[in-house]
């Protein structure tokens, strides 16, 4: 609880960079790699994950004194899975195109370590207000990475971003970028870039 002193804005900003779930903590890598073949898919996945993260954090933070310690993980995953089902059915009913593109990766949000990790590390120990800020910060950090990764892969793989033509006809799309190897390579470079920037910041 020593962290209590840090301000709310810091609580939010830590998710964007210092404790970015993907680049710094290496959590939630499966959806990060799997759905970022286009910017729109990355954004949709980021939003769905943030929704689940935020709702679960609120509920779990409210129930943190009620749920017995021994069965907390079981309780958490039921709550998380419930919200994932809500999000999954919502997308299937109202956004069928996106739901089809993301496929089984929406239900896989259940096992996204970012969500369970935040419940265990934060929501179960903090009040609702702080948990909301934390969830929003982590969610934004996650969306940010997915969006950047999705945009880079779409730009080089299909010459577009959000389906808008960016590179002209002279550019021959690099198919590899929208295939699985492109996902690994781009994320590897991004993680390296993140570490490099972080080191420089510390030195200055």
């Amino acid at each position: 609880m020593a962290k209590k002193s840090i301000s709310l804005s810091k609580e939010f900003l830590k998710g964007l960079w210092d404790e970015n779930p993907v680049l710094r903590m290496l959590l939630g890598l499966c959806p990060t790699l799997a759905v970022t073949n286009s910017a729109i898919n990355g954004l949709a996945m980021g939003l769905a994950t943030t929704f689940v993260l935020l709702s679960s954090s609120v509920i779990i933070s409210l129930l943190r004194k009620v749920i017995p310690h021994q069965v907390r993980i079981a309780g958490y995953i039921v709550i998380i899975a419930t919200f994932v089902t809500v999000a999954d059915r919502y997308m299937a009913a109202f956004l069928p195109e996106i739901s089809k593109a993301l496929g089984p990766y929406v239900p896989l949000i259940v096992v996204n370590c970012v969500i369970l990790g935040r419940q265990e590390a934060f929501a179960s120990k903090n009040g609702v207000g702080r948990s909301i800020i934390d969830a929003l910060g982590m969610g934004s950090g996650f969306i940010l990475v997915l969006l950047v990764l999705g945009s880079i892969r779409e730009l080089f793989g299909s010459a577009t971003i959000f389906n808008l033509q960016i590179l002209g006809d002279w550019f021959n799309p690099w198919m590899i970028m929208i295939l699985p190897p492109g996902a690994f390579l781009t994320l590897g470079l991004l993680i390296g870039l993140g570490n490099w920037l972080n080191e420089r910041k510390v030195k200055i």
Binding site: N37, V66, I67, P68, Q70, V71, A74, G75, V78, I79, A81, T82, T85, V86, R89, Y90, A92, A93, F94, P96, G157, P173, M175, I178, L179
Partner: protein, 195 residues
């Protein structure tokens, strides 16, 4: 309160609440999802058949068959059905329409595939062919099924039962043709014996 009892009660309450919320949500979203499914099915059928007023659904030899009809006429305009088989990397499923005598194809539409992006996916659409991105599936319209469809590599089709393979995706092209040949012959016999 007893610790074990509390554990059981809390978990049961959480699970019960979750069940209640989800079944309510199921009631809200299910009709919508069913509606989208039906729309997608109707769109696929109308893509592969000539214009029709309504269709009749039948189960023949394990295939779901949709028979397109025009009001006031007993003769169907065409027969649509879904066929499946393995492609280069996984399952390909196709909606195919044939004329009532099973001699030629009225149209095909690839519903699902996981072929290599940029190569095998040209069985659905080919963005590199600016004049007609749907050239591969459209070739099958009016192709003659008898004795069977033949794929040509790097040659322009001459005979009515020939189609051209996608360059760089011969296996995917052949897979589509094989799936069509096998299943159409299969259904042909049983359809004729039923009618």
């Amino acid at each position: 309160m007893n610790k074990t009892a509390k554990m059981v009660i809390v978990l049961t309450v959480i699970t019960a609440l979750s069940g209640a919320i989800l079944s309510t949500w199921d009631g809200v979203t299910k009709p919508k999802i069913e509606y989208h499914k039906l729309q997608a099915l109707k769109a696929a059928i109308s893509d592969v058949l000539p214009p029709y007023d309504n269709y009749e659904e039948k189960d023949i030899n394990g295939y779901k068959v949709y028979i397109g009809k025009i009001d006031g006429s007993t003769q169907p305009v065409g027969i649509a059905f879904k066929v499946e088989g393995s492609g280069f990397q996984g399952n390909i499923s196709i909606m195919v329409g044939v004329d009532p005598s099973f001699t030629s194809i009225t149209g095909i539409k690839v519903l699902e595939q996981i072929e290599t992006p940029g190569l095998g996916t040209k069985i659905v659409e080919d963005p590199s062919n600016k004049s007609n991105i749907f050239w591969f599936p459209e070739q099958f319209t009016d192709v003659v099924i008898e004795p069977e469809i033949v794929v040509l590599k790097n040659k322009i089709p001459q005979k009515p039962n020939e189609v051209q393979a996608i360059s760089g995706a011969t296996i995917s092209s052949k897979a589509v043709v094989r799936i069509l040949n096998d299943n159409i012959q299969n259904l042909k016999e049983s359809y004729k014996s039923v009618n």
